[in-house]
Amino acid sequence: MSKINLQDTGALFQIAEPTGPQAAPRAPGRGIGIDLGTTNSLVAIAPQGAAPRVLLDVEGRAILPSVVSYVGERVLVGAPAMAQQAEHPERVVSSVKRFMGRGASDIEFTHPYQLVGEGGVLRIAVGDEPRRQVSPVEVSAELLRALKQRAEAELGGPVDGAVITVPAYFDDAQRQATRDAGRIAGLKVYRLLAEPTAAALAYGLDRGERGVFAIYDLGGGTFDISVLRLHAGVFQVLATGGDSALGGDDFDRALARHLLARAGLAAPDRRQVEAARIAARALKERLSEADSARVSLASLGLVDLEVTRAEFEALIEPLAQRTIRACKAALKDAGHSPAELDGVVLVGGSTRVPRIRQLVEQVFGRPPLTDIDPDEVVAHGAAIQADILSGSERPGVTLLDVVPLSLGLETMGGIVEKIIPRNATIPISARQVFTNYSEQQTGMVIHVVQGERELARDNRSLARFELKGIPRLPPSMARVEVTFQLDADALLTVTARELMTGVKQSVEVKPTHGLSAEEVDRLVIESLDHAGEDYSARNLAEARVELGRVILAVRRALSEVGHIESLLPPDDRMAIETALREADAAMVAVSAIDDSEAAAAGLTRAREALERISEPFAARRMQRALSAGMAGKSLDEIEAALAEEGLDARRGGHSAALIQDDDEHGE
């Protein structure tokens, strides 16, 4: 959850020289790398510069199924937990990663669990006597604890700290939840590391590569694409993108539907769908090796079918193409063409599908790098980074990662003012100064959102809080500075303070739940789908706000000094009043226009006309304010007068200070 801290703003931007990178090693070689996956988790080590290796459990298995059983007194983790799943589906928790950092109302997928904790922290009820409830963070902590124990056995002593990987697309709440799970498991979390970045690290360090690389990561349920530049000693993520609701599971479902249709089963029940899905998964794996394969549907009481690879490939083609679109968008964000890349790395079990390899090769114009097991490569990278951060002598590498989604504030008209753009290198901070709209305004609602859409309501709400006690100052004289700070784990802190007076603010924080990965994707995909529509909507909202502001400023000036003839000759006055009436009419007329582009154009024309006609009046008032100043008026009075003139001067700016007034322009 975003932290709001208003008391301690002074220190945030003091510039201090760091004392230089860590000199004394802490516990070299005792750092571990953990790939905490939706389906499977792994732990790896690469102590003191050694090549990374995945650690095995006592039975020789590398993969820990991400499953935790709360059936008995003792909590079971991994394969033994999985064995109890069929019998006690509601008390054996799998795919807990999908619940991380989310509220009960965010859970829209089907699952066998009884969720509790409306509006607050989400919990899963996993027993009745005594009634047990566990949060997703605690479930993840069980997995981490098991992996930590495995590492301790291997290292013959305590673990110093861990690097835990997260999907590049994890938002603030999901990252925070992952970090919390590490702490609960008794791990010092050195760093959260984006999964594709970890994969790049595994490849890059082993080979001493330099250049620009793309990481294509297709897992069971998510797809990530990252573009990185590798320099000597620095890994710089240039762009990241993806689709967190697209993975190999979708291939299985598409194939299952096809099997059922071919077998002539028009209305399968739930059990049949599930059986078909399991058969489809096995078939998919065989079709990665063979051109055609036979699938047994005996468990469904159906005849066996012969399925060709071409058939399968036709089914998954639309899904595969979706990943390619995301690749192209990420390349564009990174400012590189496919030909400029030096390599493309495949990560995730679903990249074993030949059609995927073929498409990736086509798009990037070169065969992909696959020589590290795609299931293990993320853990390898995490282990390397953990070894470095443990203070070992390993040649250091600095990871410059990016924030996956833009962060912004809601401003007048429901428009989002982007404060930190997506793909900005982290850590990063940004500030925005807000000002008051009228002297009566003493409060301001600050609404923090994450996403790519132009209007706040289409993005995910991260936090909403209210600044109170803004001193009564003339319009646009109060200056509230809001600061966003993203740290190296992409965790957000928001601070705010009033600059003119330094008056301590009281704040009400109304936290909202973190972004789901699905939601993140939906937002990005929608922003691509609705780019045109969004732009028009934003334009219309802006045009309305701007015209309203000009009308108000002109009216106010008229009522204050309009009677002074030297400032406003009668002819000018008539012209201005006519323009005002026309502007009012344009404001009214706009609601009847369906085409938001035409509506915005009408408002803009009216504003430009009103500005042009009232410009001489404004110039004379400015002159008068200046002369009044020389005649001994106080500086504040001049500034107030000038500030009013300047209210609409920001129009040309693409990221200007915006005025938010929760009294008059709240939703």
């Binding site: 220190a11 510039i15 201090a16 020289e17 760091p18 230089g20 990178p21 860590q22 802490r26 700290g161 760093r191 620095v234 710089q236 951060l389 203070g391 250091g396 600095t398 990871l399 410059l400 900005a424 290198t425 982290i426 850590p427 990063i428 901070s429 100064v433 000002t435 646009s476 700070q485 993203l486 740290d487 190296a488 780019a531 045109g532 529509e533 732009y535 028009s536 334009n539 582009e597 154009a601 024309r605 430009e608 500005e611 042009r612 410009e615 001489p616 400015m622 000038l642 500030a643 003139e645 300047g646 209210l647 001067a649 920001r650 040309g652 700016g653 693409h654 990221s655 200007a656 200070a657």
Partner: protein, 169 residues
């Protein structure tokens, strides 16, 4: 509370023309030295200082690598903040003539001569930008500010034209 000068932060001369290679080298070198990863395990004040310095470097790099942001930043260092509406230190108001010109351009666009108008605005944006940069080289911040504000108007106009064209196709 002031920003560190981004040029000084990256050890570069404070002017618009810069060596991209030098910028990248300096940024990477300094980022390596101050990235929070290098300070894990040290006390929180040291870690915080590293985060703040890295943030500054990332912000500086983001600003200076972009020719337009770099020019606007130089204007800001000269005392005029184009993102502010403050009458003394904010973006200069466009003149009435300029506003009339924008209205004319909109009318011509509405009449349908999209590609010719687009080309003209593109040229005007480039001209304003070049004039702004030339003014910066002379140290004339006021003129630079005026030209860069004009460039923003033209750019905004181009974005609108593109968005509406994209919608039509």
């Amino acid at each position: 509370m002031t920003d560190a000068d981004y040029f000084g932060l990256l050890g570069l001369e404070r002017r618009w023309r810069l060596d991209r290679g030098a910028l990248e080298r300096s940024y990477l070198e300094r980022s390596q030295a101050s990235h929070p990863d290098g300070f894990i395990g040290q006390d929180s004040g040291v870690q915080r200082a590293a985060m703040e310095r890295s943030s500054q470097l990332n912000q500086a790099h983001r600003t200076l690598r972009d020719p337009v942001l770099r020019a606007e930043y130089l204007v800001k260092l000269g005392g005029i903040d184009l993102d502010s509406s403050d009458p003394r230190t904010g973006a200069p108001r466009p003149t009435q003539d300029f506003l009339i010109e924008m209205i004319d351009l909109r009318e011509r666009l509405a009449e349908g001569d999209v590609s010719a108008v687009r080309e003209e605005i593109e040229a005007r944006a480039e001209q304003s930008f070049a004039a702004g940069v030339a003014a910066l080289d002379r140290g004339d911040v006021a003129v630079a500010a005026r030209e860069l504000v004009a460039r923003r108007y033209f750019q905004r106009f181009l974005d609108e034209v593109d968005a509406s064209e994209e919608r039509r196709t």
